[in-house]
């Protein structure tokens, strides 16, 4: 379908829903339906147009329709030795760019390269009045107007229909190596902090069950020097790539089974969590995956006292999910959220309640 006719169809649906008090739920392949709050609204397939609109390796950006498969984008980038440095989780073979943006998630390299929103350069969006709006652009530095494109990252389809997205891309590192060390949790946290405060080429870390994996990326000479300092054993190259990918996709054994999966985000120096359950650390301890039946309130209490926040990522008691999978917001912050939602979507058409019941 032509882009303009697809946008015309979307516009008609938006205006129609707005007029009769209906709701819409934009979606791609559905790979991330399990995230966030329950789905509501008439499904609206955003894959009506797909494909890369512009990609210029030496300008370090790619623009693609929201319905484009993220795997296709990554394959194209890889053929030019480039990558999405925030390593977005796909959670499904057909995951789309729009879903990646809307869920706002980043993978292992986030600890070194930055998060998804750090790489957003521009977005075009259809708002609740059916207007097509473009924010940002294709250049790295652009401070004209409020940074609406980054606001859209992680908004779970509640602010509008994302039509196309421009992301900054980076060259793949010249070389990579994964080191494996046997350490307990506390010792792993201490070492990661100490390494993090030094100019070392760490690009990912993960600890689980007494085993710490650290990925080094960059010039071979720098990797070799860092490897000597860090110690441990070098993991076999291919196995290591598979390791980080299966971690990103939650395909490792830790993620199997039915126990509720919490994503706990913590400030850099937070200690071991005093909560029963199995834990997997990432991002030098700033992201902790927790399989635990702990009471949601009690867990949130502990985490927020440490300056962090917790998300019920997968599973969990129905009641806990209903109360909200995301950390509750302070009232004055929620008030701004409500007014922003009203600004973009005055009739409340898009993905009601997906992020917070109030939005």
């Amino acid at each position: 379908m032509m882009t303009t006719s697809f946008h015309a169809v979307l516009r008609e649906q938006v205006l129609d829903a707005a007029a009769r008090g209906g709701t819409l739920r934009p979606h791609g392949s559905g790979s991330k339906d399990f995230l966030a709050q329950a789905l509501a609204g008439t499904p609206l397939d955003m894959r009506g147009v797909q494909g890369v609109i512009a990609y210029e390796p030496s300008e370090l950006y790619i623009t693609a329709h929201a319905g484009t498969r993220i795997a296709d984008i990554e394959a194209l980038l890889a053929s030019h030795q480039q990558m999405l440095a925030f390593e977005p989780p796909h959670f499904g073979a057909s995951a789309t760019l729009g879903g990646v943006l809307a869920s706002g998630l980043s993978g292992p390299r986030r600890v070194a390269a930055g998060s998804l929103r750090d790489f957003v350069l521009g977005v075009s969006l259809m708002d609740g009045q059916g207007r097509v709006l473009r924010f940002g652009g294709q250049v790295m530095k652009n401070v004209a107007g409020f940074d609406v494109s980054r606001l859209i990252a992680g908004s779970f389809g509640t602010l509008g229909l994302v039509l196309d997205v421009t992301l900054k891309v980076l060259p793949v590192p010249q070389a990579e190596q994964t080191r494996v060390l046997e350490l307990d949790e506390t010792e792993a946290l201490v070492r990661l902090r100490e390494w993090g405060a030094q100019p070392l080429p760490l690009s990912a870390s993960a600890w689980h069950d007494g085993r710490l994996c650290v990925r080094l990326s960059g010039a071979q000479v720098a990797i070799d020097a860092a490897a000597r300092l860090i110690g441990g054993e070098a993991a076999d190259g291919c196995a290591a790539t598979g390791y980080w990918q299966s971690l990103r996709e939650h395909l490792q054994g830790f993620f199997a089974g039915d126990a509720p999966l919490w994503r706990v985000a913590l400030p850099p120096v937070a200690p071991r969590l005093p909560i029963d359950g199995d834990v997997l650390l990432e991002w030098h301890g700033m992201q902790r995956w927790l399989r635990s039946d702990a009471d949601a309130d009690a867990l949130r209490h502990v985490v927020s006292a440490l300056g962090g926040h917790a998300t019920l990522f997968r599973g969990g008691r129905a009641l806990d999910r209903e109360l909200g999978v995301f950390e509750p917001l302070a009232p004055e912050v929620m008030a701004v959220h409500r007014r922003l939602k009203q600004a973009f979507d005055p009739s409340g058409v898009f993905s009601p309640g997906r992020l917070y019941a109030e939005l």
Binding site: E56, P57, S58, E59, L60, G114, R117, D118, L133, R134, F135, G137, Q138, V139, M140, K141, N142, V143, A144, G145, F146, D147, V148, R150, L151, A153, G154, L170, P171, Q174, R193, G196, A197, P199, P201, G218, A219, V221, A222, D224, A225, A265, P267, P268, V269, W283, M286, G307, H309, L329, A330, V333, M334, V336, H337, R339, A343, F344, L355, Y356
Partner: protein, 496 residues
């Protein structure tokens, strides 16, 4: 543009009442009301625009910030936040019926945490002071605007400032983790967090670069990064601007993200050389400065690759800094471009468009033609790695019509930046200066959304009103054409 023209809400309060109400909230030495001392606040770094505020408030605590804002909110008085006043777009230009809220006394470094690689600072802390405080820990704050000895972190947050190292280390938005923001109504919000990916909408992204339109930042947590062990700089001379532009693209295309990648044209090199005696090759049409940092091994490796690429791109001369003194000498001229412009010309006007890198040569040639047409000299310095241009238009405001020509020249550069697929401002902000060009870059519906976003934070419209986002009415009056995606309405017409 001598007087700032702003859309003002109807003034509802007389100055005496305002002063009396503020005096109830603030100690006497935190209020400036006499004309003599108010003069110092008449303008920011954009000295072409001046306005006298009614009062300047200098709160020393967050509680006093809240009190000032609540008072002004109640009285319907506009507030203009101000950091160090180095902004170049008039963001801190006072409002004739308003209060200037200066953060000069909120200047405490609250904490520096080596292992967390974070510092908590008040907004009035100078950019360089953060790096100085972090230095004993082997850390620094990466965004380094040329104004870093003076500009404040609060101002950096408001402008999303960058520096020569932002190609590799990011802008303010990539290096700030959390702010406390006080709304016009006096409510305090924690935005962002010291833990990654705070819940809800990314209000931090909205706040950074919001030019003081959404609230007053009272505390900032910044990310600190480990100081690289080694940094070295390559200086390459070119006799052709296109070749220099191509060399920049070649470096990036080879998978190298240098710590800095800057370009100066011949006029700039000549102007700064008199000033800093760096030994620049004066016969070169353009010079590139390319910095590499990291471990000694990494730097050596990268410099060798960069050298080969620049050589292949036709550089006429390549020098590599052999020690720290030489590296600083290479940079001295680039960092002194503004003062050098001020030395060779009574006035200069600094522009800030960004264009896609590949259009660099085209842009330069167009600006040379404009320079001839307006009869004004122009020095060109760029953050070449990210396409951010800083043409310095030289003029003399005492010569009739030169200011007017300089402004027209500037407008033409900005509009061409948009037409080439770029933006009117890469890091200096819109403020009052570029407000008309916002009508070129954005369609009315987009501007409407910006107004809605502002209203979500500031329903009363009293926080730095009249800046950054033009009214639709103003755009209609200006008769500006919105350039859609780089497609000009009449592409067949010559424009430069």
């Amino acid at each position: 543009m001598s007087t700032a023209t702003q859309a003002l809400p109807e003034s509802v309060t007389d100055t005496a009442t305002l002063i009396a109400e503020l005096a109830r909230e603030l100690p006497a030495d935190c209020l400036i009301t006499d004309t003599g001392r108010l003069r110092a606040y008449e303008c920011d770094g954009l000295m072409l625009m001046r306005e006298m505020p009614l009062v300047v408030a200098l709160p020393a605590t967050e509680a006093q910030v809240i009190a000032v804002l609540r008072t002004c909110h109640r009285l319907g008085v506009p507030v203009v936040p101000r950091g160090a006043g180095t902004g170049l777009s008039g963001g801190a230009t006072p409002h004739a019926q308003g209060v200037v809220l200066s953060t000069a006394r909120l200047n405490r470094i609250v904490s520096v945490d080596r292992l967390a690689q974070q510092a908590v600072v008040q907004p009035g802390v100078r950019n360089l002071a953060v790096s100085e405080a972090a230095a004993p820990h082997g850390l620094y704050y990466a965004p380094d605007p040329s104004s870093q000895i003076a500009c404040s972190i609060g101002g950096n947050v408001a402008e999303n400032s960058g520096g020569v190292h932002c190609l590799k280390y990011g802008l303010t938005v990539h290096n700030v983790l959390r702010v406390r923001l006080v709304s016009m109504a006096g409510e305090v919000m924690e935005i962002g967090s010291e833990a990654p990916d705070s819940p809800g909408y990314d209000l931090l992204a909205l706040t950074i670069g919001s030019e003081g339109l959404l609230g007053v930042v009272t505390e900032v947590t910044v990310k600190l990064v480990p100081k690289p062990r080694v940094a070295r700089c390559v200086l390459a001379a070119f006799d052709d601007i296109r070749r220099a532009g191509q060399a920049v693209a070649d470096v990036i295309a080879a998978g190298i993200i240098p710590a800095g990648l800057e370009m100066m044209d011949q006029a700039t090199t000549a102007a700064v050389e008199q000033f800093v005696h760096a030994g620049y090759p004066l016969d070169a049409t353009a010079i590139l400065l390319c910095e590499s940092d990291g471990t000694a091994e990494e730097v050596e490796d990268e410099i060798a690759r960069v050298r080969a690429l620049l050589d292949a791109a036709g550089a006429t001369e390549i020098r590599v800094s052999s020690d720290e003194a030489e590296r600083l000498r290479f940079w001295a001229g680039r960092k002194a471009a503004f003062p050098a412009a001020g030395r060779i010309s009574p006035d200069y006007y600094c522009m800030d468009g960004t264009i896609p890198r590949k259009r660099l040569a085209e842009m330069l040639e167009a600006m040379n033609a404009m320079s001839a047409r307006y009869g004004l000299r122009c020095l060109n310095v760029f953050h070449a790695g990210d396409g951010n241009l800083h043409p310095l238009i030289l003029f003399d405001s005492n010569v009739p019509d030169e200011l007017h020509r300089a402004e027209a020249f500037g407008v033409e550069i900005l509009e061409l930046s948009v037409a080439l697929g770029g933006t009117i401002t890469g890091e200096h902000g819109v403020g009052l200066e570029k407000i008309n060009q916002m009508c070129t870059q954005f369609a009315p519906d987009e501007l409407d959304m910006f107004h809605r976003v502002k209203a979500a934070f500031d329903p009363a419209g009293l926080m730095n009103p009249g800046k950054a986002v033009p009214t639709l009415h103003r755009c209609a009056e200006m008769g500006r054409m919105h350039v859609h995606h780089g497609e000009l309405p009449h592409p067949e017409l010559p424009r430069f």
